[in-house]
């Protein structure tokens, strides 16, 4: 079974530039999550989708971050414009019917200079 795929693995940009991350969840998983993990901290939920609908985006900085999952499968997370404090690893995860069992991708590491 293929795992959660994310790209790119690494990205370096300058502040005020834009960046996009892509995630393809495990086939058949209805729920998709984007987490932000800043160095030395635990993952923080940015947005949670159920199929193509948003379940929770309360911690998403909507003035600069956006995410979509148009066909209920893969998803894109965009940051525009980026700030220094956005430097982090962006983790995508998906889950099936088992409560709380999330499957994570390897993450996309963003460095903002």
């Amino acid at each position: 079974e293929a795992g959660v795929a994310q790209s790119p693995r690494y990205k370096i940009i300058e502040k005020r530039q834009s960046v996009a991350f892509w995630c393809n969840p495990i086939s058949g998983h209805a729920t998709l999550y984007w987490y932000q993990q800043i160095l030395g901290q635990g993952p923080k939920l940015l947005i949670q989708f159920q199929n193509n609908g948003v379940v929770d985006d309360s911690q998403l900085p909507k003035d600069r971050f956006s995410a979509e999952r148009l066909k209920g499968v893969d998803s894109t997370l965009k940051i525009q414009p980026a700030k220094l404090e956005d430097s982090a690893v962006y983790l995508c995860a998906s889950s099936g019917p088992r409560a709380g069992e999330l499957f994570f991708g390897e993450g996309s590491r963003l460095t903002v200079l």
Binding site: V4, T31, Y35, G40, Q41, G42, P43, K44, L45, Q48, V55, D56, L91, A93, S95, A99, G100, E101, L102, F104, G105, E106, G107
Partner: protein
């Protein structure tokens, strides 16, 4: 609102020694509790989970955890660690909406 506190940011231990990683949670409703492990440059992987039933749960790689409702704790234990257990461990809580809140993590450093 729910939250998770991992009391130790780093736990150094010698190989074959026992280890306990501490986790306390706060929630106003019944919770599900989880431990995830993150190896360097990898995503998180589920170690074990408590949903209901027996308060002692066993997971992969010889780890176990005990749910203590009165102390709002879910400490992770292993009787004998290996070098390969060196990783970051995250405790997480879910109040039933499949939305996990993670702690800040505990780095387990196993040395020979």
């Amino acid at each position: 609102a729910q939250s998770v506190t991992q009391l130790d940011s780093q736990v150094p231990v010698f190989e074959e020694a026992p280890v306990e990683l501490r986790c306390n949670y706060s929630s106003s409703v019944s919770v599900y509790l989880f431990w995830y492990v993150q190896y360097p440059n990898q995503g998180l992987q589920l170690l074990l989970k408590y949903l209901s039933g027996s308060t002692l749960v066993k997971g992969i790689n010889g780890f176990e955890a005990e749910f203590n409702k009165s102390q709002t704790s879910f400490h992770l234990r292993k009787p004998s660690v290996h070098i390969s257990d060196t990783a970051e461990y995250f405790c997480a809580v879910d109040s039933g909406y499949s939305t996990l809140t993670f702690g800040k993590g505990t780095m387990l450093l196993v040395s020979p």
